[in-house]
Symmetry: C2
Subunit: 383 residues, 2 copies
Amino acid sequence: MSNVSIIGIGQTPVKEHWDKSLRDLAVEALLAALKDAHTEKVDALYVGNALSALLGGQEQLGALIADASGMRGIEAFKIEAANGAGAGALHVAYLAVTSGLYESVAVVGVEKMTEAMNGAVTAAVSLAGDGDYETMLGISPTAVAALLMRRYMYEYDLVAADLAGFSVNAHANAAGNKFAMYPRAISRDAYVNAKMIADPINMLDHAPYADGAAALILSATDRLNGNGARAVRVAASTVATDSVSLAARHEPLWLSAAEASAQKAYAHARIAPNDVDLFETHDAYSILSTLQLEAAGFAERGRGALLSRDGDISLTGKIPITTMGGLKARGHPVGATGVYQVAEVVQQLRGEAGKNQIADARVGMAQSLGGIGATAVTHILVN
Amino acid sequence: MSNVSIIGIGQTPVKEHWDKSLRDLAVEALLAALKDAHTEKVDALYVGNALSALLGGQEQLGALIADASGMRGIEAFKIEAANGAGAGALHVAYLAVTSGLYESVAVVGVEKMTEAMNGAVTAAVSLAGDGDYETMLGISPTAVAALLMRRYMYEYDLVAADLAGFSVNAHANAAGNKFAMYPRAISRDAYVNAKMIADPINMLDHAPYADGAAALILSATDRLNGNGARAVRVAASTVATDSVSLAARHEPLWLSAAEASAQKAYAHARIAPNDVDLFETHDAYSILSTLQLEAAGFAERGRGALLSRDGDISLTGKIPITTMGGLKARGHPVGATGVYQVAEVVQQLRGEAGKNQIADARVGMAQSLGGIGATAVTHILVN
């Protein structure tokens, strides 16, 4: 068992924040997390962000956000792994505390996207693709995901509506999350009839880009100093990679980084998939949740989508996913998403998930993906 | 004493690499480092890069470079701290090995700048500044450095030529470095008469932007497995920050992050400045070397520049700096620079610095800066 615990979480609402800058959002989440942790000071700050170079004209976010949040001077820098940036920052924080060099550290994932023009956002999120072999040819991440979903449907004899359950579940859950961008249920019919973006991916299958920040405070478990009542242990934090280009993979329909990262996490936490009470998937597109459920051992190959049809992924199902709305309905501020996922797992394990509470939740898992699964970061939390 | 050693180094020449892409450069440096370490496999890869989003249209460099260098699957992501990115990646590698979770890890710093138009490069390096309070007003990092140098000259009654020794020393040293971009001596007159860029910073005071990659292989010292003959211990790896905006600092002429990072490093390595046999400064501009020498305790306030006049910084001086040419004459591939610095310290401590060898070098220090000292990363290596 690791020596790392999460002792505080903070989140801003996920939405179009026209009145707040990137640093405003980061500071808001950080201060909320510090307050939640009953702490004023940490030894280091790790920032997850994917797009601020292109969308904000700003780098060196570590020093910038440390200063803005009243921590001028402390160790700080940014971690980038495309959409997996926030989870990557948490992994560095985990390494830092595990090293024994730091007693407590902060993580903030932040993204500010909605002030940019649509073309700029597409260019920015396309940085996650392979510049020489994919992006140069004009294909966006959504188009790559569409190819993947189409192939999956062909291979396993499904139609797009067979994946409707992922969005329906996410939106139903978002209704119970005060930070969610779209906190309202949608019907299966709404999904089936939604406007097409990149066939077969439609408006209700594509996680909405958004502004937001989420933060976590980590502490060495053996130094909780009486602050452990609401602490949640980080039982595993693992990263694995795959080719960035989808075409370069031996089996495009198998997320090998997601599998490797999950397997390393299970081994480290000494658990098996059936010990997991909830699983925050990276549902930027439903096909990714589908493939993550397979890669992480919750479904056989080709059977991941079926879990969404039979209620298995609902709050009372066999393996609840996207329990606070997921990327799809909580919203997807790219470099912040991985931190939101883990903050939501903490809410569940603390029993603070309100009407979305998973009964007796003890083991929660979150898996964040960079690009179309080129980077996979898995966290297992245990109460 | 830490449990981290550097067992391999690799560098590409620093120059305009018209025939090599960013990933080509990274792979070349990584494979050289693996060969130097007599190793084929590492547990993780940390990439330092500052500018590829803007200049290369590419992010997710962790997964991308892991795959390109034959390490598909391993943990990998990117660290960004402006010009301090490479050193930041090394710091994460240090945390990773110190955590005990990994036996050996790789670091690569890489930057590809010279294919971009000049305006694009200025925009990219300006990401290091404060977007809302500096860059938005049109001031570039070089212009900020010029203000800093002018204020220093005013405060301590100096002229620009008093700082000439930094460039003269760097160029003299670069002549002995086969990887250097400008391996030739310059005269003091050449410095004084060089074309002005941002008064008082001239062409021979400004480190040239370039393409290049440098890599390191780190191993747990207690697991060297007979591979320790040329291993160099990492005695300290520390990071500190300051406000990104120069105007927001209480004392603009004092690099407080450089001081804090150096002090933490001395404490951790249990040494004092006079134990240091060589010091790789971040001489993007001579004023930065000047202020680093003061902040790190090698000169009193206002006396840093004087060290460059009296031969104290030369290979046989009291505190040799930029011993392989520094940013100024080895060249400055921004996100790679911090890794080059440390690779050069390793060369010195191994006694492999050729005609640039510091006699009996046992303790070497490198300090990399992000922006105008907003991030400072210090490494102390001991043989």
